[in-house]
C-alpha cells in the first residue's frame, strides 16, 4: 500500500518536472515580449531597462550543448550556466517567486494566490454540486430505467451537456439579473462596506449564477456516466444476491450499487479537471469573477507573460495533484487494486 502511494507520488513529481520545463520553454519560444512595447514615447534606454528589470537580457539557457547528454558539460559554450533565465526561473521557483506582473507590477505569486481561492470556491462549489446531483440523478434514472423519469433525466442531461458554456452563462446572467435581481458580476458589491455574515451573503449572491452555470455544464456528463455504470452494475450477479437477501431498494443502491459505480466517476472527475479549467476561464469571464480563469483571459490580452506562466504552472500542478488524489481514492474504493 505504502509502496503504491510512493510510486504514484513519484510519477506525479516526474510529471511536474516535465511541466516545469515545458512551462519555461513555452513562454520563451514566443521571443522577447518587449518587442510588443510599441509605444513611441518609450526610449530604447527605457526598454533596455525593462529588459534588465525582468531578466530578459540574460541568455535563455547557456546553450543547447548543455542538454546533450553525450557532451554534457555545463560550460560547453562559455556562458555561466547560473547566469541564465532558466537558472533564475528555477531558483526563483524554489523561493516561491513567480516574477512580477508586466501589467500590475505586483508579484505574480501574490496575485495568483489571491485569485486561486476565488477559483477554488467556484470550481469546488460547482463540481461538488454537479457530482452530488449528477450521481443521484444517474442512480435514480438507472433504477427507474426506461420510465418517464429516466427519459426526462436523460434528455435534460444531454441538453445541458451539449450547450456551449459561455452561451449558457450569458443566458443565465441575463435571466438571473433581469428577473431575480442577481448581481451582474464580480465577487462582491464594490464599496458596500459590508462585513461578517452580511458580506458572506453578498458573496453568496454573486457566486450563485456562476456556480449554477458550472453545475449545469458538468451535471449532464456525470449523470450519463453514472446511469450507464449503474445499469451495468445492476445486472451483476451480486445485485441479484442482494435482492435475494431481502435488502430494500435503498440498501441495494446505497450499499451495493453505489460504491461499485463510483469507480468510473472518480476517474471521470479527475480527467475532467482540465476541462474544468477551460470552463472556469469562460464562466469567470462571463461573470467577471476574479479567479484564475479571468486572470488568464486578461493576461493573454495584455501579453502578461509572468502571470500566464505562473497561472499555467499552478493549474498544471493542481491537475497533476488532483489526479494523484483520484488515483488514491480509486485505490481506496477498490480492494482489488488496493490489495493487488
Amino acid at each position: 500500500m505504502t509502496k503504491l502511494i510512493l510510486r504514484k507520488l513519484g510519477w506525479a513529481l516526474l510529471t511536474i518536472a516535465f511541466v516545469l520545463l515545458l512551462n519555461f520553454f513555452l513562454f520563451r519560444v514566443m521571443g522577447d515580449p518587449t518587442r510588443l512595447l510599441k509605444d513611441p514615447r518609450l526610449s530604447q534606454a527605457t526598454i533596455e531597462a525593462i529588459r534588465v528589470r525582468f531578466g530578459l537580457d540574460k541568455p535563455v539557457i547557456n546553450c543547447f550543448e548543455t542538454l546533450n547528454p553525450i557532451k554534457a558539460s555545463l560550460n560547453a559554450c562559455g556562458v555561466n550556466p547560473f547566469n541564465t533565465q532558466f537558472a533564475a526561473y528555477l531558483s526563483n521557483l524554489l523561493k516561491g517567486d513567480l516574477g512580477v506582473s508586466f501589467h500590475s507590477q505586483r508579484p505574480v505569486a501574490e496575485l495568483l494566490t489571491e485569485r486561486l481561492w476565488n477559483t477554488l470556491l467556484l470550481i469546488g462549489a460547482g463540481q461538488i454540486l454537479a457530482i452530488i446531483i449528477g450521481i443521484i440523478l444517474g442512480l435514480v434514472a438507472a433504477w427507474k430505467a426506461r420510465t418517464v423519469l429516466d427519459y426526462s433525466a436523460l434528455v435534460g442531461s444531454l441538453t445541458v451537456w451539449s450547450l456551449p458554456t459561455f452561451w449558457l452563462g450569458i443566458l443565465l446572467l441575463f435571466w438571473g439579473s433581469n428577473y431575480l435581481g442577481l448581481p451582474l458580476g464580480g465577487k462582491e458589491t464594490i464599496g458596500s462596506g459590508l462585513t461578517g455574515l452580511k458580506r458572506l451573503g453578498d458573496i453568496g449572491t454573486h457566486l450563485l449564477l456562476p456556480t449554477l452555470t458550472f453545475t449545469l455544464v458538468f451535471i449532464g456528463e456525470y449523470m450519463l456516466i453514472m446511469r450507464s455504470t449503474v445499469l451495468d452494475v445492476l445486472s451483476e450477479d451480486y445485485i441479484l444476491t442482494a435482492k435475494a437477501k431481502g435488502l430494500s431498494t435503498f440498501q441495494i443502491l446505497k450499499d451495493h450499487a453505489l460504491r461499485n459505480a463510483m469507480l468510473p466517476i472518480v476517474t471521470i472527475v479527475a480527467l475532467n479537471l482540465g476541462f474544468t479549467v477551460a470552463g472556469a476561464i469562460q464562466i469567470e469571464t462571463v461573470f467577471s469573477w476574479p479567479g484564475l480563469g479571468l486572470t488568464i483571459f486578461e493576461a493573454v490580452g495584455r501579453r502578461d507573460y509572468p502571470v500566464l506562466q505562473g497561472a499555467f504552472l499552478l493549474l498544471a500542478v493542481s491537475v497533476v495533484l488532483a489526479n494523484v488524489i483520484a488515483d488514491l481514492l480509486y485505490t481506496f474504493l477498490d480492494p482489488r487494486v488496493r490489495l493487488a
Binding site: D237, Y238, T241, A242, A244, K245, G246, L339
Partner: protein, 323 residues
Amino acid sequence: MSNKQQANLLEVRGLTVDYLTEKAKARALENVSFKVAQGSILGIVGESGCGKTTLMLALLRLLPQAGRIVAGEVLFNGRDLLRLSENDMRSLRWQDLAIIFQGAMNALNPVKTVEDQITEVLLRQNPNKTSAAKRVDELLEMVGIGRNRKGQYPHQFSGGMRQRAMIAMALACNPKLVIADEPTTALDVMVQAQILELLLQLRAELDLTILLVTHDLGVVAEVCDTALVMYGGVIAEHAPIDAIFNAPSHPYTQALLGAFPDHTKPKTQLLSIPGYPPKLDALPPGCRFAPRCSQVIDICQLKTPSLIKVSDGFASCHLLETL
C-alpha cells in the same frame, strides 16, 4: 409423515413463466407442479436451458425484468408466495428462503468483505453487532473457513472458498428452504465432494429442505431423496431416486440415464440424445420431447401430455396413459 399438509414445506401448482423479448414471447415454464417434503433434498436435472434457474428464481420472485409469472401458485408453508406484497416477500427472503446462485464467483460483491456481506443479513434480523460478529465466526467455522480470513475480499478467496462462504451466508438466518443452483459446477471433484458432504451434514443438523439444481446425475444419486427431471420448460418426471434410476418412466429420463456414464458397468456405450431441446418461442405442438423421442407415437405430435401418477411418482408421457 402423519399429517401430509404439514409435511410439504413447498408446493408448486401450475407455475407458468414467460420471457418477453423484443421479438417474441418465450414460454420458459409451463404448468410446473411438484411438492417438496420438509427435510428432504430434491434434485432438479435437465439439459441446459430447460428452465431450472428460471424455476428457482420464480419461486423467490426474482425473475429478471423480462420474466413474467403468468399463472400458478407457490405454497410455502401453506402461504402463496405469489400473492404476498413485495414487502412481505422481502421479509421472507433469506430469513426463510435462501439461495446459493449458479456460479458464486460473481455472486459476492467484490468491494465488500466477506464478513460485511454476511453481517448485512444478520443485522436485518437482530441489530446487535456483537452477536452478529459471533454468528459470522460460527458460520464460517461450520463451512470450514478460518475466522482470520473473514475480513478478506472475495477475490482473495479461491472458488471453493467463495462457494463455501456463499453457503455460510445462505445459512446465516437459519432458513427453512435452501435453493442451490449448481453450487458445485465450476469446482473440481474434491471440492465438489466436500461441498455436497457439507450440505448433507447441514441438512441432518438443521433439518434443512434443499432444492439442488445440477447437471450431474451422479450428484443426484448421491445426495437427493427425490428428483425432478425437466425438459423444455415442463416436468418430464418427478419421482423418488430409486424409481428414477432403477425404473425410469419417461423416455427422456431413460435417455438421460443412457447418456450418463455408469461407473459400475465398465465400457458401456454412451448414448447421446439426437437433436436439440426445443426453441421456447417455437414450441412443437403436442409433447415437447416428441421430435427427439425414440418411442414416439401418433398422439405425441398432437396433444400435450399431462402429468400423471405412475407407481412411485409422476411423469408426463402419452405412453404411460395408454398403459
